[in-house]
């Protein structure tokens, strides 16, 4: 059977604006992926354990509150603590350009700012999976 791409879509932190996360979830589904949607107010710990139990290929997070510099790297840190290096992690939201190099250095492979088409995110995921298909 073909290998399905599984993606965890999560909203870390307290920000309640989930329009973007929900639109992405639907777009990924329409691109044939299996999307585990975990909803609002997720701690980095919840995101990482869910990603393990669900055996996802991708973690996609969205933050509009400005807490990305704290929460995104924290997720990467937890993944590293558990020796997980084969999950593609991407983030999106209101993220100033100046912050992007730091997030990438922390291991966030793709950062998508307002106006990014969902097709670009789909293509990025398909082109950057860390696990063989």
């Amino acid at each position: 059977m073909e290998r399905k791409i599984r993606v965890l879509v999560a909203k870390p932190g307290l920000d309640g604006h989930d329009r973007g996360a929900k639109v992405i979830a639907r777009a990924l589904r329409d691109a044939g992926m299996e999307v585990v949607y975990t909803g609002l107010r997720q701690t980095p710990e919840q995101i990482v354990t869910a990603s393990i139990q669900e055996d996802v290929d991708v973690i996609a997070m969205s933050i509009l509150s400005g807490a990305h510099n704290h929460l995104f790297p924290r997720v990467m840190e937890l993944l590293r603590e558990k020796n997980i290096d084969d999950v593609l992690v991407i983030g999106g939201g209101v993220i100033p350009d100046d912050d992007i190099p730091g997030l990438k250095a922390a291991g966030i492979a793709g950062v998508f700012t307002p106006g990014s088409p969902t097709s670009e995110i789909v293509a990025f995921i398909k082109g950057n999976l860390k696990r063989g298909s």
């Binding site: 329009r19 929900k22 639907r26 701690t43 509150s65």
Partner: protein
């Protein structure tokens, strides 16, 4: 009679001519639509007025059904309140920004709180990490609130606070600060958002389940009707529903359905409708389709007036009239070529003014990138001032009334909104419709369709999916110093060490007793606030009694 016949004949001749022309040159596109994707005809004429009766449906400003506005002189009397939503970092920083805004000519304050405050967590709560001071000011206790309004006389300024789930606590803090300034609660003017239903469907800063949340709201209605009579006890908000992706008609429909639920709850709690309804206020979005947005505001007034009169038997004109604040559409701003946002905001602000808003926030050009800088905020405010003083839009009342197009749009939005409200009624009201996920689903479907339209290019967003340029990353964005999380935590530790903790425990116990019983929660919350109990402590007591809401997601 003969005029109508002439008109019909003329219309036929015109259409025949168009058909002939179209056979040679087609129009720009097959289907023309509003910003919310409703079909738009080539031409609107008196034929579109149908049997509409002017006095019944449109009427006069300050009179039922308030289509033309809620005051009889509108902006000839005075302009709308220019109210810029602001707040970030610490109370000290925000206090400085408020003083700057007042010096620049804003006429009302609008307080943005950070997410921990909005969700009732203290700054040292584990979930607050990384969020303190980010999207607004961090308020943990009365001590922070005293700093926030330091040197701002609360009897001279009206203050709007974007606070929902813990609205009682923040309102209590405001009352307590005023008391220290020697200003009695009866003289306070302002608004708390206090609209929990839209938090469940669109904004996400809920704490408690619907039932106790509705009780907290009716407690505020009751308390303010006697003790803070000039306070707007709720700002029933379509803004966030639209931001979450709804259409214009859905914005009106779901907001008014929420309004109906609040009035219902208050009436069931034994309040007289005319005692609290005059203090209900609304909050809408303004998007780019100028005419559809103007029509939306006009339709909203008409729908609400009918609801209040026919459904609730309200008699006071103030109960019937829908007063509203407008904010320009945050989701319409682009991160690309951000200066273009100034133009978008100008069109949106004009729509709000032509639609008869009572107060207005104009977004800053850089808000798709970060919190706005002082320069950007000034341009946004200047946009309002240019409309007020230079555009001429304020010289007469409801200047677009009588436009065949705008009146037709107004009717359409009213009809669509009323159809939604009937559907929601059939489900048992807004609370039930939200519990079922119906409202969320409708909004998400619209949001997804909107995004797909942008990606297919059917919807052009200038600078984003058309007319793009290579651009350098913007400079000089406002950043919140991450150190303030630690600062706020240190302040909290000091506070807890130096206050009268016995009094805190006693007042918190009283809040618990009130929460478990059925008495009004405002007085014990006010006492706890005055004892310097923190926001998190007070909310924890209520969490213990009320439980917490679990998000209802339908995808």
């Amino acid at each position: 009679m003969s005029e109508m016949d002439d008109l019909k004949a003329g219309m036929e001749a015109y259409e025949a001519g168009v058909d002939k022309a179209l056979s040679k040159f087609s129009e720009r596109k097959k289907e023309f639509t509003t910003g919310s994707k409703s079909p738009v005809k080539r031409l609107y004429t008196p034929l579109d007025d149908g049997n509409r009766q002017y006095t019944q449906e449109i009427g006069f400003p300050g009179e039922y059904p308030y289509t033309r506005g809620v005051q009889n002189t509108m902006y000839r009397g005075r302009f709308w309140t220019m109210r810029q939503y602001a707040g970030f970092s610490t109370a000290e920083e925000s206090n400085k920004r408020y003083k700057y805004l007042l010096a620049q000519g804003t006429t009302g304050l609008s307080v943005a709180f950070d997410l921990p405050t909005q969700i009732g967590y203290d700054s040292d709560h584990p979930l607050s990490q990384g969020e303190v001071g980010k999207v607004g000011v961090a308020i943990d206790s009365l001590a922070d609130m005293e700093i926030l309004f330091d040197g701002i006389p609360l009897d001279k300024v009206s203050t709007s606070m974007t606070i929902n789930a813990p609205a009682s606590v923040l309102l209590a803090m405001y009352i307590a600060v005023a008391e220290k300034q020697g200003v009695p609660a009866a003289k306070l003017e302002g608004t708390i958002q206090n609209d929990i239903l839209k938090e469940y469907v669109a904004r996400g800063t809920y704490i408690f389940p619907p039932e106790p949340s509705m009780r907290l709201i009716t407690d505020i209605f009751a308390y303010c009707s006697t003790d803070v009579p000039n306070w707007n006890t709720i700002s029933i908000s379509g803004y966030h529903i639209r931001e979450a992706g709804s259409t214009a008609s859905q914005e009106v429909a779901f907001t008014i359905a929420d309004g109906i639920a609040y009035v219902d709850a208050a009436v069931k709690a034994g309040l007289d409708v005319d005692a609290f309804a005059p203090r209900l206020s609304f909050f809408f979005n303004a998007h780019n389709d100028l005419f559809e947005e103007v029509a939306k505001f006009r339709a909203a007034r008409r729908v609400w007036a009918k609801v209040m009169k026919e459904r609730f038997g309200a008699k006071s004109p103030k109960s019937l009239s829908l007063r509203f604040h407008t904010q320009t559409g945050g989701s319409t701003l682009t991160a690309q070529q951000p200066d273009n946002n100034i133009v978008r905001v100008a069109i949106q602000a004009l729509a709000a003014v032509l639609g008869g808003t009572q107060s207005l926030h104009t977004n800053s050009r850089d808000e798709a990138l970060a919190l706005p800088t002082e320069d950007s905020v000034r341009i946004a405010l200047r946009t309002q001032q240019i409309i007020a003083y230079e555009s001429g839009a304020t010289e007469t009342i409801d200047p677009l009334a009588g436009s065949y197009y705008v009146e037709s749009l107004t009717d359409r939005i009213q009809n669509e909104a009323e159809a939604y409200i009937r559907t929601i009624d059939d489900m048992g009201g807004a609370v039930k419709a939200i519990e079922r996920g119906y409202v969320q689903q409708e909004i998400q479907d619209a949001a997804y369709a909107y995004q797909m339209d942008i990606e297919s290019g059917d919807r052009v967003v200038v600078g984003m999916n058309k007319f793009q340029i290579e651009e350098a990353p913007p400079k000089g964005l406002l950043r919140v110093d991450p150190i303030i999380g630690a600062q706020q935590t240190a302040k909290l530790h000091d506070l807890r060490a130096n206050r009268d903790n016995e009094r805190v425990q006693k007042t918190l116990a009283d809040v618990k007793i009130a929460a478990e019983g059925s008495g009004n929660l405002m007085p014990p919350i006010l006492e706890a606030v005055k004892a310097y109990a923190t926001l998190g402590e007070i909310c924890d007591v209520m969490r213990g009694v009320f439980g917490e809401y679990q998000q209802k997601v339908i995808l």
